[in-house]
Amino acid sequence: MRKFSTIASLSALVLLALSLAVSASAAAGNTSNHAKPFVNVAPAALEQAPVSEAESDQTLHAMHDEMDRARTRLQLPGVEKPFYLEYRLLDLDVRSVTSSFGALVASSTLRDRFMSVDVRVGNYHLDSSNFVSEDGFQGFLGSTGQVGIDRDYNSLRQDLWLATDQAYKQAVTQMSLKQSFLRSLSKPPEIDDFSQEPPVVKIDPRVEPEWTTRNWEDESRAASAALRNFPHLNATRVNYYLIYVTYYLMNSEGTTIRSSRHLAGIEAALATQADDGMPLHDYYSVYVAKPADLPDPTTVAKSLAQTATELMTLRQSPLVPDFTGPVLFDAPAAGSVLAQTLASSLSGARPPLSTMAAFDEIIQRMGGRSEWTGRVGTRVLPANVSLIDDPTLKEFNGQPLLGNYEIDDEGVKAQRVGVVENGTLRNLLMSRRPGPDFQSSNGHARSATLSDPQPLSSSLLLQANGGLSAADLKRKFIDACRDDGHEWCLEIKRMDNPALTSIRQEDFSDFIGGVAGGVASGERIPLVVYRVYVSDGHEEMVRGGHIEGLQLRALRNITGIGSDETVFPYMQNPSGGFAGTALGAFGSAQGGIPSSVITPSLVLDEIEVRGFHGEPRRLPLVPSPPLK
């Protein structure tokens, strides 16, 4: 085995963090900035023959035998035995191809397997988890790591043996640190550490990768070549990801899960600079269930050209001045705003105890605290609005949903959860980590790359009584504008997705530097914004605006709701650190958790948009070289 963290040469793609919906069926969906469904996906599992039966799966055998041995015999002298053991294993096949302006940048096919072992001592009420401390057990190998890809019995047992041993020693050390910390508190928390849930056994067929006979390198070249017609584009990247995963989960309570998941996606980033020096970008993305469902290169090229054309219009458009007033968020923009503002507050799990004051502070500052815990039964949204998260939903209006799964990453059956009913908070999303309001899981534990599962949304639906037609909503919006005394108001058609628009590491770092610190300010970045004139309703694209102060609470000011419920599919970033920001909300196919928000267009009142105030970057000293 190899440690995750210590292998410097571990390739990035090896670390493709992925976590597709736990479902062998219909984990599908798509998105593009032009929101047109490309394909309808039939359940994959039905088409593809099972590779092997559970009986011959040496991975399951090795997990079972080593867990059995650990459960009966793993004990340090004079120390308690584990009360809970859990093995998770990720078996990955990933193809990834990147092109730029019609030329190939990278192409790889990787096969990898990773394991993660969790051992707990104590009991369900008080165990070794949910505790962060500076000290702790420093093992020589750790409880996670890369394991052999042969799917053989012997090497996996060896790796699980060492990882289990390390995890047990970690648990024992954590437990003793935690107990001494608890003694120092005047009032120790009364909430259980771990919820008891009925064991689930579900062994789905393992799905072998189907790369198809399509030449992905040529397709990515051909698709991205369309961008060569746009000499003002400074840089572009078109990424194809084809991902197959088999997820194994086994625990000492009797749960055994094997599920295959797959996803294929295209993500493209385009960058340019306006004549006044302002850097601008745009993106395109599409996600489907499997490689064969990806659009052909001609279709992708067409979409990319449309995106580029939009970006070219943007670079010629006037700057937006500062503005405060009603803003119409078209459905895809509304989906993005909901994903960003709701992300950290849907979870009902309590944060871990920590000996470090700084830890608490960081979580707080980064917006990692749920604003909704402790507020169940109170009004949090307008009275006609309901919010539901439903992982069991396979499609919406015929469009497959990315976030669909049957069993969550902790082996708990997925449940539809009515979070907000007619404006009143009724439920929160739960994993097996209890919180102050709810003590049991409702099947929402999700993780990427074997990270710690957290309660996350899957398919989040905003529903309202009395949604208006597009024309009526627009009229209402313009009326509100006029009543407010504005000559024009803003309509946001799409929001930015920094996880997809950063072409380079530095772009991303710039973004983190710029936004992460300002989480508390509720800064949100729109991508495509139009000025809508009250006089005659005509529209004009504008650029450079940032929304400020758009927090969860702003959703109480929803003053207009359309009837155009639209699926906004995205890859959710599982990191807790930047929760509540676009960064926290969004990942890419390489590392994100497939999710959707389904919402109609929304009008929000009193939105503050700040125009561009800084020093614009100077233009390149040397004009760009010819692209052809």
Partner: protein, 576 residues
């Protein structure tokens, strides 16, 4: 979380690399047709310099480096395949210096930690000149912008800060440009037989219950590097390097980590080690692991010690070589052991040391630290560092010292890092040699004379360059791994563990009293400020009159509670 992924992506692009290179074999042949990438580089270089040399501030030097890296890795662990990959990537680095040779944007500021990573980016693999030019153009603009901002800070700091003597050296040296474009190298590797081999090798380790974890890694690196700069340099050269590494982990009963490591390096497929050779090494590693597990901890000791050639080679690399790197003499945070010692006796007068990257092999064995041009486009030079014990000069990159104004072709880096002065092939020679058997005899006599109960024989040392890439000890840490007590009364040597050298290891070098007559070679990757670079060290066995050692702190992590699954007596028959 996202930033981590991105960071890893970056690491990937930049792992392992080399600067070493070119087959001079191609030197006699006609110059190859200009590769597209070189054309694109030259076009953009000319355009950029024309504009930026008139910019404010003006650029005075621009260089482009493109590294085409083809990399094959096949690794196995505990009898199973771990990874098997074949990747190609093209990495672009742009350096845009503004100001002048004396004072430019790279000038080190006391309040600013220098950044060791150089900006760069992955670019297209295709021979598509317009796309390459666009990538180069964008990167050049980015670097020029960054350099401009940096120079403002440097100038401000100059006005308010007291200047140190070291700071009086210019920031950059001008060098004679070289033009040499050799043929491209290609790698063609069938991974299948190696997949079987790494399974087989690690399965062999699993036969020993003492081996907790084993990894075997086969790698092939084919690297073609292109460089142009505004001084007129125009280089293209390539090299292929094959490597097999074996690594095992164990734990002594008291929890001390036991590691054994072995590597094989070769340049031509026909020179790959045979199974027989590898299995022999595996058996040795298993035997050493099992013996180390049982070996007693060393007692605190001061007395004579002998280092075998390979141990001495690593020792010289770590304790002398790194201190002879020129940039350290400039940095006030460094120990600067030798900064003012040029012309002084620093080692016994029978010891001479050179660093010669121009040597491809030594006594028929390949030298990993060979390269024709360094990573700043300067021709590699044979540098005589120590002549009969007297320090003569330092290893130099293009960052000059007050008294050493030019590079001697030792500016090296791993892709993605800023080059600094590094070792290539460090070669230690001696004019006072005896046979290794006589050297051992001298050790015993010295033990008797000093009235010590035993002497030490150090056979293997872990340094920064034996374990790079695996979170192992970094440069300068010198940890003897295989150490024997040698008794004066003829008893067999006894293996001990947990040996930690006390005090400055450098002092030990001044106490060398004699050397063996057979140089040993160590090939490895050395990790330091500019990343991991391939190096060699060559030295004879040495006898040191006094070395002080103590017990190393042991890990608190005890050996696993349960026996290995394959060696569990209670599980007979269950293993498959």
């Amino acid at each position: 979380m996202k930033p981590t992924h991105r960071a890893r992506v970056f690491v990937i692009g930049t792992t392992i690399l080399l600067s070493a290179c070119a087959s001079l074999a191609g030197a006699g042949t006609a110059e190859a047709p200009t590769p597209a990438v070189l054309t694109a580089m030259q076009d953009e270089l000319d355009r950029s310099m024309a504009a930026m040399s008139k910019g404010d501030p003006a650029a005075y030097f621009i260089s482009y480096t493109v590294a085409d890296r083809d990399y094959v890795e096949v690794s196995g662990s505990n009898g199973a395949l771990l990874t098997t990959t074949d990747t190609s990537a093209r990495w672009l680095e742009v350096q845009t210096r503004v100001g002048d040779y004396k004072l430019d944007d790279t000038h080190k500021l006391p309040e600013r930690q220098p950044s060791w990573t150089s900006p760069g980016t992955t670019v297209t693999l295709d021979q598509d000149i317009p796309v390459l030019r666009r990538e180069i153009w964008r990167e050049t603009d980015r670097q020029y912008r960054a350099a401009t901002e940096a120079l403002i800070k440097v100038r401000t700091s100059q006005q308010v800060q007291v200047q140190t003597a070291e700071g009086a050296a210019p920031d950059f040296s001008s060098e004679a440009p070289r033009v040499s474009v050799g043929p491209r190298v290609e790698i063609k590797v069938d991974r299948t037989p190696w997949e079987a081999r790494v399974r087989k090798y690690t399965a062999a380790f699993s036969k020993s219950p003492a081996v907790l974890n084993s990894i075997a890694t086969f790698t092939v690196l084919g690297m073609n590097q292109y460089q142009v700069n505004t001084e007129g340099a125009r280089l293209g050269f390539g090299q292929v390097h094959y490597r097999l590494e074996l690594y095992v982990q164990s734990k002594a009963p008291d929890g001390m980590d036991i590691n054994r490591y072995a590597n094989f390096d070769w340049l031509e497929p026909k020179d790959a080690p045979t199974d027989k050779v590898v299995f022999t090494r595996i058996q040795t590693m298993i035997a050493e692991t099992e013996a180390l597990d049982k070996a007693p901890l060393v007692d605190p000791y001061a007395g004579p010690a002998m280092l075998t050639g390979r141990a001495a080679a690593v020792f010289f690399h770590e304790v002398f070589g790194h201190r002879a790197e020129g940039f350290r003499q400039k940095d006030i945070n460094e120990g600067q052991t030798f900064t003012s010692k040029i012309g002084e006796q620093i080692l016994p007068d029978f010891i001479s040391i050179k660093d010669d990257p121009t040597e491809e092999s030594f006594g028929g064995q390949m030298l990993l630290g060979y390269y024709p041009f360094d990573d700043e486009g300067v021709k590699a030079e044979d540098v005589h560092l120590v002549d009969h014990g007297v320090l003569k000069t330092f290893l130099m990159s293009r960052s000059p010292l007050v008294d050493i104004p030019h590079s001697n072709g030792h500016g090296r880096r791993q892709l993605g890092f800023v080059p600094v002065a590094r070792q290539g092939n460090l070669i230690v020679s001696s004019s006072r040699t005896v046979t290794n058997e006589q050297l051992r005899q001298q050790l015993i006599e010295m033990v008797k004379k000093q009235n010590k109960p035993f002497g030490l024989l150090i056979d293997d040392i872990a340094g920064g360059f034996t374990f790079t890439g695996r979170a192992q000890p970094q440069a300068f840490q010198v940890l003897p791994l295989v150490v024997y007590k040698v008794y004066p009364d003829g008893r067999p040597d006894q293996l001990v563990r947990g040996v930690d050298i006390v005090g400055t290891p450098l002092v030990s070098l001044t106490k060398i009293v004699a050397t063996g007559d057979t140089p040993d070679i160590f090939n490895g990757y050395c990790g330091a400020e500019s990343g991991s670079v391939p190096v060699s060290a060559v030295a004879p066995a040495i006898l040191i009159s006094e070395m002080e050692v103590q017990k190393k702190e042991t890990s608190t992590d005890k050996p696993p509670i349960l026996p290995p699954p394959a060696h569990d007596p209670e599980e007979k028959g269950q293993h498959q």
